[in-house]
Subunit: 126 residues, 2 copies
DNA sequence: AGTATTATTGCAAATAATTCGCAATAAATC
DNA sequence: GATTTATTGCGAATTATTTGCAATAATACT
């Protein structure tokens, strides 16, 4: 579990993350819960997202929009993303990473994580 | 050229970027120029970095620190980064990307760019 | 179940990065 | 050198995120 107490706020943040097919921002989680008439505070969302990241329950995704996006880490769900520079559409990209990882493992760094993001135009925007 | 005028401010930002061996933040560019007694304004740095990015002269690097880092794009200098989660050390990582790119080219997306960042511990922090 | 303990929340205020409006300045052009 | 207008500096505004603190609610204890 995150922290030590399984609170309503935490359940709700979890729910919002599961319901989203794309990585979402703290503000988007807030809006989605507000729309469901949940009493929730943005600061609590940020605090919980921090904890969830530290507990390795979520990943942080960065597209240079000036804010962070979050998504649940699930079993065998490792993937990367495509971000459309025109419309902001986000799609998951899965790929065989043996080569990437084999290369980096040879270095003197202890790798815990990697993020690979693609930028370009989605089919609709080409 | 960026924009249409080759100003002192632009020369200085260029210089600051060239002098740095790692991707640096807007604030770091500002500090470095201030230390050299250059009259420079943070807003102008941001404006020029925007232009330079649009002109494809620099890349934006994101490590989730809550700010952007920038580095000059030079001929044949394409590479990725390692970011030490403990001390913040940044190192360049070069690798053969044929496989990554071959895979992604098969998709319906038009890829213009990709960013691959590694996170973990540098030799000193292990 | 009732009470005690303390992690967690809500709220408001503080930070930090980045952006914007506008008048002043300085490159490039004539 | 005078003119044009892109660019700068400055201050204020915006946006994302963080923090302090008293109030609240999950769990543990009896």
């Amino acid at each position: 579990m995150i922290g030590q107490r399984y609170t309503k706020t935490r359940k709700n943040i979890f729910k919002a993350l599961s319901n989203s097919k794309k990585p979402i921002t703290a503000q988007e989680i807030f809006n989605s819960l507000k729309n469901n008439d949940e009493k929730i505070n943005l600061a609590s969302i940020y605090r919980n997202l921090d904890l969830m990241e530290k507990s390795d329950l979520i990943s942080v995704i960065l597209f240079g929009e000036g804010k962070k996006r979050f998504e649940l880490k699930e079993e065998n769900s490792h993937h990367h993303h495509f971000f459309c520079e025109n419309c902001g559409d986000i799609e998951d990209i899965k790929m065989n990473e043996d080569k990437i990882l084999a290369n980096i493992k040879k270095t003197k760094f202890l790798i815990k994580e990697h993020k690979l993001e693609f930028f370009g135009l989605c089919p609709d925007c080409q």
